[in-house]
Symmetry: C2
Subunit: 131 residues, 2 copies
Amino acid sequence: MSKLLPLLSPSATHSNAPSAPLSAEDAVDLAAAFKALGDPVRLRLVSLIAAHEGGEACVCDLTGAFDLTGPTISHHLKVLRLAGLITGERRGTWIYYRVQTEVIGHLAEILAPTTTPLAPTCTPEESDLPA
Amino acid sequence: MSKLLPLLSPSATHSNAPSAPLSAEDAVDLAAAFKALGDPVRLRLVSLIAAHEGGEACVCDLTGAFDLTGPTISHHLKVLRLAGLITGERRGTWIYYRVQTEVIGHLAEILAPTTTPLAPTCTPEESDLPA
DNA sequence: GAGTGATTTCGATGACCGTCTATCCCTGCT
DNA sequence: AGCAGGGATAGACGGTCATCGAAATCACTC
């Protein structure tokens, strides 16, 4: 995954923004991720997984929230997985899904590069993603 | 526009996240916005407009960046406009488009509610979200 | 007010997407 | 080994979307 450029410059509202526009290739990459989020079911799936205890959920925890068949849920989970937004791990009978928070956080940064762009006093204590 | 709940709780990585999952209606709203961003052309359009001098651009500034016909660009601009992501204002012959930074910033917040959640040392020297 | 350039709207077409039913794979249990 | 259940895959169908060419709209100019 590349380090994409921000969509909006930190103060795009009132300046002649110098942030370079997205390259065509980066746009394809990014659009794939946003397209994966561009479905209410998938959005709720991500939300449900993130909100579930331990930050992970198995399919049986998710299907109940929708009026959809199992294969349809499975299809949406696959789309999210191929987009790199979630990961699935089999533990025994069940498959547990987990949100790739760094990827989604990355998308958020591209949309709005941290309303507080580069505050050096801020040390984001992250980087505990087991990949 | 409603004040939607965040997709990820601030520390969803390592906690049994208490943030409530999206409601079905909110998900429909949100998904529409992300779907609008789920196309490379539209993503680049937003980026180009944001990066253009003064934060606004007319169609004539945009068409050159693509190998697409005028109507196609116009179609994508319309999709973005209907999604509330940009606004168009006619000034004389040309129509100038501008990015709705608040809306996009809102999307970013929903994706990742400030990766550095509540750092008091970080003084976000802006907070002009009028919505 | 007719001409010209910029932009949108209108239909049409081909591709893609979401959903379903039916079937298959994997794991754990008897 | 056989069976049951969670979950994924395959194939199909209907709807939506991206793109185009052509026509219509808008605004400035002569």
